[in-house]
């Protein structure tokens, strides 16, 4: 378990940069909405979803009903349902840690786990667990720091959240190199771009996700042999 910490930490550094910043931004937003720092800690500890918590700030500020909170959160996080599909067997093999792995399967942890290469002599389950735990702690730290120190920063951090975009780009390249069949990648890019164009930034994720699933399912017989790992 201990040996897996170092490689896990190295793998999570991009998420560290990204989470500290977007967590920080969440903390600042929550503070501006009039909520004390312990709320940032509590929300990041229990919810642990970037876009979901940004949404929560606006719901809190608007004193939305609990029903609205439930519906909006479910809709926004629907994509998580598809993430679990890639780890059904992997997580089931992890004993009790499985529950924490499921809880902490964010976009970023998902993408790191998708591209995970365990060094020789390291227990893959331990490394996965460390990655999940470290990412969660970065997120909590970022949001609490943001809620405590607010908008005062010693340097101009504008644009640092691009670390997240860069991380996804790198993983995209990794996946591109690891498979010969690039149809899923093109499909994802095309469906997302088209959906964004048609539906705008607030509503495009779920239709794009559904379109991707339907198209992949339709193409299954055509290239299920090619993508088999």
């Amino acid at each position: 378990m201990k040996k897996a910490f170092r490689p896990a930490f190295a793998a999570t550094i991009p998420v560290l940069c990204g989470y500290l910043f977007i967590g920080f931004a969440f903390g600042v937003m929550l503070r501006d909405a009039g909520f004390a720092p312990p709320w940032a800690f509590f929300a990041s500890l229990t919810i642990y979803a970037g876009s979901g918590q940004y949404l929560l700030v606006s719901l809190l500020a608007a004193k939305a009903s609990l029903f609205t909170v439930a519906v909006m959160t479910l809709l926004l996080n629907c994509r998580h349902i598809f993430y679990g599909l890639s780890f059904l067997e992997t997580f089931h093999q992890m004993g009790r840690r499985k529950w924490y792995m499921i809880f902490s399967l964010t976009d970023e942890t998902y993408s790191l786990l998708c591209s995970l290469q365990t060094p020789a002599g390291i227990d893959p389950a331990a490394m996965r667990f460390w990655i999940a735990l470290l990412d969660h702690s970065y997120w909590i730290a970022g949001s609490v720091i943001g809620a405590v120190i607010g908008g005062v920063l010693p340097f101009n951090s504008t644009g640092i959240d691009f670390a997240m975009t860069a991380l996804f780009t790198v993983i995209f390249v990794e996946q591109w190199k690891s498979t010969k069949c690039h149809i899923p990648a093109f499909l994802g890019l095309g469906a997302a771009a088209l959906s964004l164009l048609l539906l705008g930034p607030d509503n495009f994720i779920l239709p794009a996700m559904l379109a991707i699933c339907v198209m992949l399912a339709a193409l299954r017989s055509r290239f299920s042999g090619e993508v088999a790992k």
Binding site: P14, W39, A43, I47, G52, L56, L59, L60, K63, A64, L66, V69, A70, T73, N77, R79, H80, I81, F82, Y83, G84, L85, S86, L88, H92, I102, F103, L105, D107, C114, S157, G159, I160, F162, T165, A166, F168, T169, V170, F172, V173, Q175, W176, K177, H182, P184, A185, L187, G188, L189, A192, A193, L196, P201, F204, I205, A208, I212, L216, A217
Partner: protein, 109 residues
């Protein structure tokens, strides 16, 4: 707003978020074999979803107004090409991010 109300709203958000993450594991609990179509989706979805997430990251870029998403597209291209070339995660992400910060802070104001 009352303490209890805030607590309840955060709890509801937490429960609903966890529910979306838990759903696939409850549907396919490891005791019975996973249907081939689900296994297939589990294998082919990641590249498509990662592509979707890259698009998600640039969703709030205004393409019609200057600089037309140029810093974003440029830095994504630099990150990708650097990664194809050197295949070093930290290098690709570090250079891409620093370049982006430089561009949005000094060039494309």
């Amino acid at each position: 707003m009352t303490f209890t109300r805030t607590l309840a709203m955060i709890a509801v958000a937490a429960i609903c978020t966890f529910a979306t993450r838990l759903a696939p594991f409850l549907l396919f609990n490891g005791k019975k074999p996973i249907p081939p179509i689900i296994r297939y989706l589990g294998e082919t979805l990641p590249p498509a979803v990662i592509a979707l997430l890259v698009v998600y990251c640039v969703k709030n870029v205004s393409w019609s107004a200057a600089p037309h998403g140029l810093p974003e597209l440029l830095c994504i291209a630099v990150t990708a090409l650097l990664h194809v070339w050197k295949r070093n995660n930290l290098l690709s992400i570090g250079v891409g991010t620093v370049l982006y910060m430089f561009l949005v802070q000094t060039v494309f104001l």
